[in-house]
């Protein structure tokens, strides 16, 4: 997959997230699609491209929200690196695995946010309501992951970006 296709995926997912922010609202929690895009790149692209996608997702999310720039980059990059490292031993089409990876990436981002905010002027308190909110954010991200992966795989095939396409052409 080319970087252009992956960057376009990030932009489209971000646009979708912005559009859904006003419509999808479960107990005050919005749908976060960035973990799903990172999981997609980490599972199906090379490690450097997965890292590129993680950085693009983090910077774009921070720039379009009121978060300090750099807040979301590190957890997404770590998640991308870890998933990419085990890419060959993972059964990538398993929906349960995709759910777990999407939820885990989202939870890592929330925990990282909590840790960095603890060091700032507006610390995020550690209380049951906040923990439950992090869990719900992760759950929604997990549920969105297989769906977005399916859509992105379809788009990759449509634009002849899927890794298997070249082999088909050779034979």
């Amino acid at each position: 997959m080319t970087k252009t296709f992956l960057f376009a995926s990030v932009v489209v997912a971000m646009a979708l997230q912005c559009a859904l922010a006003a419509v999808v609202n479960v107990a005050g929690v919005k749908l976060d699609l960035m973990p799903a895009v990172v999981v997609f790149a980490a599972l199906f692209a090379s490690w450097d491209r997965a890292l590129f996608v993680a950085v693009a997702c983090g910077v774009l999310l921070d720039a379009l929200s009121f978060q300090a720039l750099g807040l979301s980059v590190a957890p997404l990059a770590i998640a991308a690196a870890v998933i990419s490292h085990f890419q060959r031993v993972l059964y990538r089409d398993n929906i349960l695995l995709q759910l777990a990876l999407g939820g885990g990436t989202s939870l890592a981002a929330s925990v990282w946010t909590w840790l960095l905010l603890r060091a700032g002027d507006t610390p995020l308190p550690f209380e049951f309501g906040i923990a439950a909110k992090m869990a719900l954010i992760a759950l929604l991200a997990a549920l969105g992951t297989p769906l977005l992966l399916w859509l992105l795989k379809g788009a990759a095939r449509w634009f002849r970006q899927w890794p298997g396409e070249k082999e088909v052409e050779v034979f």
């Binding site: 971000m14 646009a15 997230q17 912005c18 559009a19 922010a21 006003a22 419509v23 609202n25 107990a27 005050g28 929690v29 919005k30 976060d32 490690w47 450097d48 890292l51 993680a54 950085v55 983090g58 774009l60 999310l61 720039a63 379009l64 929200s65 009121f66 978060q67 300090a68 720039l69 750099g70 807040l71 979301s72 980059v73 590190a74 990059a77 770590i78 690196a81 990419s84 490292h85 929330s110 946010t113 960095l116 905010l117 507006t122 995020l124 308190p125 209380e127 049951f128 309501g129 906040i130 923990a131 439950a132 909110k133 869990a135 719900l136 954010i137």
Partner: protein
């Protein structure tokens, strides 16, 4: 290969931490404005989607509810026709009195109507985007209100859009005043957990001040951002702070921030 990937990851983490802790406000704001400007068509689509969703939900209503609504509206029309006659008389009288006193209405011309084009995509911050920017006279630090009360202030402005920090965001601090007792304090947003509505807290109320639930809080005008006398919300319960030096009270915003439609920016 593996070593190179570890180095790249380490570099990314360090860079992100440097960005987070050391990037000055100026470049950060410019980058945000640039990205927001690039995404403005997408954000406008988001607003259109929301309006379509709201309209679709309103269209599905039962016949009984519609009949009842119709009946109520007819009553309202009759009452409003009477009011209109009375208001015309009052308007004439008002105009005459203003002319007599040489009064100039200045505030009206400073209010810029705006519509929401997007909401913050992250789950921890409370901001909205408006469809007016510096081309319309909006600058950073302008108060944003509805007819019901205060909403927040503009924090980033591009040529055509403005980002508004809502009063329920923990980064937003407003100098407030309890209307009934004139006790001052600082109103700031609180992080909301699961199942809690977005709200604020009023801190630094004098420990001897008499504040009770349902008291109204208005802006004090101190600080120069928010004009004096705009309604912020109502107090819910006040208690002494842990240190025992001052009182804190939870505050319910006067405006339902999830159902915003027509807003006004007070341009300076």
């Amino acid at each position: 290969m593996l070593r190179r990937s570890y180095l790249a990851l380490l570099g990314t983490i360090i860079l992100s931490l440097v960005l987070y802790f050391a990037l000055p406000a100026g470049p950060s704001l410019r980058l945000r404005s640039l990205v927001t400007q690039l995404f403005s068509p997408v954000l406008s689509m988001s607003a259109a989607l929301q309006h379509w969703w709201d309209a679709s939900r309103q269209e599905v209503q039962s016949r009984t509810a519609l009949l009842e609504q119709n009946h109520q509206l007819r009553e309202q029309i009759a009452l409003q026709m009477q009011d209109r006659l009375r208001l015309t008389e009052l308007e004439d009288e008002n105009r005459r009195l203003r002319d007599m006193a040489g009064f100039r209405q200045a505030v009206g011309s400073r209010l810029k109507p705006a519509r929401i084009t997007g909401r913050d995509p992250s789950n921890w911050w409370k901001t909205i985007l408006l469809d007016i920017g510096s081309n319309d006279g909006v600058s950073e630090g302008c108060a944003v209100v509805t007819t019901a009360g205060l909403i927040g202030k503009t924090v980033a402005v591009t040529h055509t859009m403005s980002r508004v920090l809502l009063i329920v965001d923990p980064n937003c601090k407003v100098s407030g005043l309890v209307q009934e007792t004139r006790s001052p304090g600082i109103v700031e947003g609180v992080f909301e957990g699961l199942g809690t509505a977005p709200g604020c807290r009023m801190d630094f109320i004098g420990r001897d001040a008499k504040v009770f639930a349902n008291y109204t809080v208005i802006t004090s005008g101190l600080g120069g951002v928010f004009p004096k006398g705009i309604r912020i919300g109502t107090l819910e319960a006040a208690a002494l702070n842990e240190s025992g030096l001052y009182k804190s009270a939870r505050l319910k915003p006067a405006v339902d921030l999830n159902r915003l439609e027509e807003l006004f920016v007070i341009c300076r």
